[in-house]
């Protein structure tokens, strides 16, 4: 379900859709076509193949997008348009990703044709270090009592964490965007998102994993799994509520399969991180032998 004002545009688009000749519902700027094949200045975490924006359904967003993205892609100003957010906007978007309201679409409510790259990039960076540091700390506390334990900083894991998380935050949106574009060409979808908006949603949805990773230091299996399920529900629901309107007009099976894949990949990310970076807690120590007062020996298990 989309917001009240957005649904007006949905109705307008539905009317347009009734006309069989209206195959597209967006108005592209002529200059936008030139940007298709060029890659942007490369920075890890900022790879992009395509800046195509023009498939939004609302006229208002089209106007805004046209005004904002009019600088040519090789100028610095072009990239500044992706960082055109104030502190309170970033905080609002983070809040929206942690407290998803049922029926509210994250993109329509918070992003609103101003997708930023600040949030996704720095949330991923923070998450990388949160996972690496928390994993290291939790392993330290778990193995602390052992006489043969020698602490190691495990710095290699930072690069692995960085590769995994940035790959997830950029490649999955790319694949999803490509898939949605392909479906869009076959089935008239009322709602569609630009690549940057998808990256934005994915980036902000990862925010809830940061406190989760820190709380995973607690060496209790049950606590860790409860935390994981809880954070998966929160961030998964943001994704589901965002992308359901984009696929619900499609074939039922494909829509459900898409939703399922989104949630599955999200779950795989968190399960994989938990399994790789955090050692299993509650490892049994070999049992000491305690002589009982009547001469028989008791063997006790020590955790």
């Amino acid at each position: 379900e989309t917001l009240g004002c957005a649904s007006e545009f949905d109705d307008a688009a539905t009317l347009l859709a009734a006309n069989p000749d209206a195959t597209t519902i967006s108005i592209d700027e002529p200059t936008e076509a030139h940007k298709k094949q060029h890659s942007r200045r490369q920075e890890p975490g900022r790879e992009e193949d395509d800046e195509l924006l023009g498939t939004d359904d609302s006229d208002k967003t089209e106007l805004l997008a046209g005004q904002k993205k009019s600088a040519p892609f090789w100028t610095f100003e072009y990239y500044q348009t992706f960082f055109d957010v104030d502190t309170y906007q970033v905080l609002d978007r983070i809040k929206g990703s942690v407290f998803p309201v049922p029926g509210r679409n994250f993109v329509r409510l918070y992003v609103r044709s101003n997708p930023d790259l600040y949030g996704p990039f720095w949330i991923c960076a923070t998450l990388v270090f949160a996972i690496a540091v928390s994993g290291n700390l939790s392993n330290f506390f778990i193995h602390l009592g052992r006489p043969t334990y020698h602490y190691v900083p495990e710095f290699r894991k930072v690069s692995i964490a960085a590769t995994t998380i940035y790959a997830y935050a950029w490649l999955v949106p790319l694949a999803l965007w490509g898939f949605l574009m392909w479906r869009n060409s076959k089935v008239m979808n009322i709602v569609s998102y630009s690549f940057l908006e998808i990256v934005c949603v994915y980036g902000y949805s990862l925010f809830v994993y940061i406190p989760t990773a820190i709380l995973w230091i607690i060496p209790q299996k049950v606590v860790r799994w409860v935390l994981m399920i809880f954070s998966l529900c929160l961030s998964g629901s943001v994704l589901v509520m965002t992308f359901w309107p984009a696929v619900r007009d499609d074939n039922r099976r494909i829509a459900l399969a898409t939703m399922g894949t989104i949630v599955l990949l999200h779950a795989l990310l968190s399960v994989g991180c938990l399994a790789y970076f955090f050692d299993a807690p509650e490892v049994d120590f070999p049992a000491p032998i305690i002589p009982a007062h009547n001469g028989t020996t008791l063997i006790t298990k020590v955790k």
Binding site: F76, Q80, F83, W122, Y151, P153
Partner: protein, 194 residues
């Protein structure tokens, strides 16, 4: 060291290209400005990258000789420290400029690099403390020193960079700086000798 060379190209060739005593004094003056941060233009106007290079190399060298024979689990390699510091500084500078900051690229690199000085001092102190022993007391001392120097670095760089940031985005610019020095502090704190 040709700080003013590119600004006055005609006289460039006439000036000596040797690293002179006055250059050393300029670097030293900047070190003092970092340790007692107040709004000074020395760091910003007459930027240079020698100081950051020296600090980066000495920090990376001091982080070597850490624990673990296998390269898999040990501390960061020399190149990793180098890359983290310089790449981190570049990314933060780009971030600040993309958000609309008015500071120049190299000025920002200069400030971020020089503000690693407190953490380099912390690393030195940590290595000395570790020579004395590596028990709980030594860890607590190291923890306090690293936390203090981390706060000092962050506050110093924020003090220098604050004015050039757009008004409603200061927190957006300061947070990556905080993260940057936090990562360096973590590398220093988790250093364990063999």
């Amino acid at each position: 060291m040709r700080v003013s060379c590119w600004r006055s190209l005609p006289t460039c060739g006439l000036q000596s290209t040797l690293f002179q005593l006055r250059d050393l004094k300029a670097v030293g003056k900047k070190f003092v400005h970092v340790m007692y941060p107040k709004k000074s233009s020395a760091l910003l106007r007459d930027w240079d990258l020698w100081g950051p290079l020296v600090l980066c190399v000495s920090l990376a060298l001091m982080l070597q000789g850490g624990s673990a024979d296998s390269k898999e689990d040990g501390g960061p390699q020399f190149a990793e420290v180098f890359v983290i510091i310089w790449f981190g500084a570049v990314v933060i500078t780009l971030n600040s400029k993309l958000l609309g900051g008015t500071i120049s690229f190299f000025q920002s690199l200069c400030v971020l690099g020089y503000c690693v000085l407190p953490l380099t001092v912390a690393m030195l102190v940590c290595r000395l403390v570790l020579l004395a022993g590596s028990g709980t007391v030594s860890f607590i001392i190291r923890l306090i020193v690293v936390i203090a120097m981390f706060a000092w670095s962050t506050l110093a760089s924020t003090a220098f960079l604050a004015d050039s940031q757009p008004p409603h985005r200061k927190a957006l610019v300061v947070y990556p700086i905080f993260l940057f020095y936090f990562v360096i502090s973590w590398m220093i704190l988790t250093f364990t000798p063999q």
